[in-house]
Amino acid sequence: MNSDIPDPSDWIDSKLSGLKDVDETLRCHICKEFFTAPMITGCGHTFCSLCIQRYLTNTSQRCPTCMQEQQISQLRKNVTVETLVEHFSAQRATILRVVKEAAKQPIPEVVEPPSSPDLDDGRRRSGRKRTRTNYTETLVSSDDIQVECPVCQAMLPGAAINRHLDNNCNDTGANGGNWLGTKKKTKPLRKIQRVNQASESVANVRRKLQDEGLSTSGSKQTLFRRYDEWVTLWNANVDNKTPRSKSDIKDDLRRWETTVVANENAQPVKMTIKNIDDRQWVQKHKEDYDYLIEQARKSILKKKQEKEKEQQQQQEGHQKAVDRREDNEPDMKRSETEGYQVVS
């Protein structure tokens, strides 16, 4: 099947079909993608920050999974799941390829998914032999060893010492900090407040939009919705481990306006997704469709013929009424011996 759309069914038919459940668990129930900035609800369910905020803002104040009441303010970052997604999705394609290749080989083999070097901390399970390569991989390269600068006594990586000396002990140029780790901190992004349509004036919302550098055109309703969506997109971005730039988020807002808002009153759009969809799917579907119809026709005609035969053989006065229960409860069960009669 089409590998452009990775999803849990990729693991079916592989030697590690159990990974389907792992794959599924690391995906958001709303968008079916791996979690982006996962947030956990008060009831313990996890969704992407953007997905759940959108849902709680626009659709319902209940958890989509268990229907318990839920507010945006109750959401908390699910850091462990975020890390888990990061590691799993980084390895996913490799594991999938390895297990699919293993499936082709006649002799079953134990497949060890390659572990990433940063997980390899030397505390390996006993019984697994280290090879030479593993040793060299885990050795610290001399370039990573901290050395003292003979001139200014600063500690810096061996790899950087020559450049440091060439720059007369002045390293503030390249990455905005010196080697002692006092890197210039980026200002943490702050979440913004939602506005209440009942109490906030249009003028205020227009000013807020202007302050953010967003469009201020449209009806009152449009302005409120635009700002609301901006808050959702922005706050979800703040939850991201590596937040995107403000102009990226503005692009997202524009996209939202062109797909969701613009199409609410218009004709359904035709979006072409040639690279992702697969003509075979549609073709297969059409064939199934025709086949099923043909089968059903045949079976009904056959039943009808059988019925007619049966009727000829049967004595007069045979009851064809549908069973009714004594207690008047409606019941559409047919009697044991006959099917529903086809009305001619």
Binding site: H29, S60, T65, P268, T272, K274, A296, A321, V343
Partner: protein, 169 residues
């Protein structure tokens, strides 16, 4: 890429479709009506055994909103259907297709309602069991509702007629 990135709705529907065909529910066929538009699906539902709908195959469409899966799709049979919970124009009235917010049917508990964790296969399975067991609290088709309560024999007769019609017999 054709310039436009697929929306959340489109991407999710592609995944749903891929999963649907990797493990299709018995008696149900469904998929996008054409490859350029994942927001409109065609489906085919087999009438459940031991019901008047037995042996029938009923075509329907699922129309997904731009904000799917926040909002549910609309399901509409494109053949003549006679059922208490199906409007005369074919639109299906079933709790799983109602968001917890909109409330034409108070009796539906929130847990049976639409939520993004539902999916196309769950909708179609619910519709299949709705064919087997009409819900007489929601009368989308009042005539059919009454007939089903008061005159089973006639109800079955009408349904069998629609079964044959849907198959072009």
């Amino acid at each position: 890429m054709s310039g436009k990135r697929p929306s959340v709705a489109q991407k999710r529907l592609m995944k749903e479709y891929k999963q649907f065909i990797s493990d299709p529910p018995q008696g149900i066929s469904a998929g996008p009506a054409d490859e350029d538009n994942f927001l409109l699906w065609e489906c085919l539902i087999q009438g459940p055994d031991d019901t008047p709908y037995e042996g029938g195959l009923f075509p329907a469409t699922l129309k997904f909103p731009q904000d799917y899966p926040l909002s549910p799709p609309v399901m509409k049979f494109t053949c003549e259907m006679y059922h208490p919970n199906i409007y005369k124009d074919g639109t299906v009235c079933i709790s799983i297709l109602h968001a917890p917010g909109d409330d034409p049917n108070m009796y539906e508990s929130a847990s049976e309602r639409w939520s993004p964790i539902q999916s196309v296969d769950k909708i179609l399975l619910s519709v299949m069991s709705m064919l087997a067991e009409p819900n007489d609290e929601s009368g989308a088709n009042i005539d059919a509702s009454k007939m089903w309560r008061d005159d089973q024999e006639q109800f079955v007769k009408i349904v069998r007629g629609t079964v044959r019609k849907a198959l072009g017999l």
